[in-house]
Symmetry: none
Subunit: 431 residues, 2 copies
């Protein structure tokens, strides 16, 4: 089975927005063994969309379309699909009710405009949307199955995973079983990871091992393909084990697990509570930790000590700042100790640095970041021990702040594992 | 003149890489007044590429192709172009010399493989490449002009700017000029925005007005197309003005400006300093504000009062929390006042809510968020006034936290503008 992927929108054809939906859909189809013939991006023009749909349905057995299902006049995908199919649009009462219920939940009347979103080509089916008002559509044309989903990426992703993917499972190539896994690492550059995986990453190896890097996280992807499920799984597990052995403490999780989820889980197991004190990251570290639902079990809270007066209010001595500068080892360790002491946390993480693009100097160029940790064993009344780490990060402001916060998370993870910190924490935003 | 843009590569069709070249090329063409009919992404398959080239050259007067010019077996664009043109490949001696010189510069011998890169379809011309080994190709088919450039983005960008763009200028003068603009809004749902823009969004209007939504930000895109630059600009400006008038205070910026950039600029103009106190957003609001380089001029810092003990340490009375619950108007206003008082800020924003997925109740379901503001005029020593807003957000944890933080930013923006807050702040994460 082959697929064609269409993405609809003036903003795409005009180059104002980069189309990420098509790549997402292709990658998902690939896991089912369904190849993609081509992607096509079409403007909000009913005739052009209808033509593209006709052509796609003649070339492939599966057509995935994203975009053009909104309530406004420039959303024309449903009309174009009906045109291509040579049918009229009919109203789906269940969808009207669902859209009304959605508006009820948020305490607003449904706009007349949204009624169009309950219309679909005669003989097609609606696909419910849990994240927005636009239901999707499933239809047939020229023997091809056509799915239309909203263009808003997170609505598309959710609808694909929940409603479209399960229906596509039936087309999955039956010959081989393909299983994939992802091992997530932080603290080693991609080329360093590749070096440690030497031999495992040969292109003709099965299971196949490759790496991808995103936001400082180097993911090792393993793809196992054998005749039967048992062998495929066994071989997958064996390769994963080899990968984990070679990469050691840099590994923090599998599949979609984030480094902060791993930290929250480790703290929970130990019954420990943590606090934060942030300068250049401005709250990002706290935000990251609290992305984890249930993080209130382990996270007390923190201070965003963006200005010197806030650092002093936290308890950092003005003289310390004056003598060493705000971006310094004594200041970051003092920030961590003060934060821990103030709320009685078992551990506190602190960050101070130059995120840029302004504020760099010869001594402390943009990307210079100190990360500090104060800690004691859970429930202990002893004094806090402190440690700190100097990062020299590259990249833009966003990248520097992101890697700084992740490095702080990793620093505490390694401490909890009893690993020395200098060995592993990332020193570059890009490598 | 209209264009079709083709991008070639298995990694694109497989979804391993997101195609950014097509958006780049479309945006560049738009500035010349050349509209793009569609983008198509094709696999490394000679027949498929040749078919796509034939079709594109029949539909448009200009075809831009990126990718498939490398030295390896899966680079087949030049062969496919020759096939589509019905000619053979010939060798270009000047290009061979240029490729050899390129290898000399980096001190490596030229591989035999690279010779293919000096081949081009008979009757076509080579385009020199200053950044890599693959020269581009310029050809004609079905009356259309075809340009082929390397797929590596920085090589494509360089070749386009240096060699292709100057040649395209000739098509520009006598034709239409297209100018686009984006007006960003927050606080109104997309259908509400569409309602307010009624008439302006007609599909046959010029300038054309459309909306797109991303992360709660509804962007109004305007596309103006007239014979001369002056009229195009004038009409664009006039439509933008109409859009701004209809959407009023919901408009916060143009093009890539974020809502927090707008707030930071407003505070800077007024010489005001702000602080934050966050519960369910865990630091996200501080992080957002400090995304803006130079935000230290207006942002003092904040408290992440994730636990009740941190709220009490900030100064919120335990009795208040006990009587009204942590997610309540008295608590959020107390958080804001305490934060402002503690650091002497002119304004402080506070957020407390149920971000989910756990923690909801019948009274306060997931998505219930209170946003509070304490403020006084810059430099004033008077008591703080407080106001607050109840949000009923939908979506997942990430969306709820994002909209809560943006609503807080918007709340202060509206206060600084002297607009009533209840009228405008978003109550939905999606819609």
């Amino acid at each position: 089975m082959h697929a064609v992927i269409l993405s609809i929108g003036d903003e795409l054809v005009l180059g104002q927005t980069v189309d990420t939906n098509s790549a997402f859909l292709s990658a998902e189809l690939a896991t089912l063994g369904i190849g993609t013939l081509y992607h096509q991006t079409v403007a909000d023009d009913q005739l052009a969309i209808a033509t593209a749909i006709r052509q796609a349905s003649s070339s492939a057995q599966l057509v995935l379309i994203s975009g053009g299902l909104g309530p406004t006049d420039d959303d024309l995908t449903r009309q174009a699909l009906a045109e291509a199919m040579g049918v009229d649009l009919v109203r789906d009462e269940a969808s009207i009710e669902a859209i009304k219920a959605m508006f009820d939940r948020i305490g607003r009347p449904m706009s007349k405009r949204n009624e169009i979103q309950a219309m679909h080509p005669r003989s097609s089916q609606m696909i419910s949307n849990d994240c927005g008002t636009a239901p999707g559509i499933c239809a047939e044309l020229n023997g091809a199955v056509i799915y239309v989903a909203p263009g808003v990426p997170h609505e598309l992703f959710a609808m694909f995973e929940k409603s479209i993917l399960p229906q596509l499972q039936q087309y999955k190539a039956s010959r081989h079983v393909i299983l994939t896994a992802k091992v997530n690492t932080f603290g080693l550059g991609e080329s360093h990871v590749a070096q440690k995986l030497e031999g495992l990453t040969d292109r003709d190896r099965n299971p196949l091992v490759g790496t991808t890097v995103s936001e400082g996280i180097v993911a090792v992807r393993v793809r196992s393909e054998f005749a039967d499920r048992a062998t495929t799984q066994q071989q997958l597990d064996r390769t994963i084990e080899q990968v984990q052995q070679r990469l050691g403490a840099a590994v923090f999780g599998r599949e979609d697990e984030t480094i902060q989820q791993s930290l929250v889980e480790m703290l929970r197991q130990r019954g420990m509570k943590v606090a934060t004190a942030e300068s250049c990251t401005g709250g990002l570290l706290g935000e990251m930790i609290t992305q984890v639902s249930g993080s209130s079990d382990v996270y007390i809270g923190g201070w965003v000590t963006y200005s010197n007066e806030m650092k002093e209010a936290l308890g950092v001595a003005a003289a310390l700042i004056e003598r060493h500068g705000v971006v310094s080892q004594p200041v970051v360790e003092s920030m961590a100790s003060c934060a821990a002491l103030r709320c009685g946390a078992d551990a506190a993480l602190a960050i101070t640095g130059v995120a840029g693009p302004q504020g760099g100097s010869v001594d402390k160029p943009v990307g210079t970041v100190w990360v500090g940790l104060a800690y004691r064993n859970a429930g202990e009344q002893a004094e806090y021990k402190t440690e700190s780490l100097l990062l020299k990060l590259t990249g833009n402001r966003r990248a520097i702040r992101d890697r700084a916060a992740k490095s702080a998370v990793q620093m505490l993870r390694l401490r909890l594992r009893g690993e020395p910190n200098r060995r592993i924490v990332i020193r570059q935003a890009h490598v």
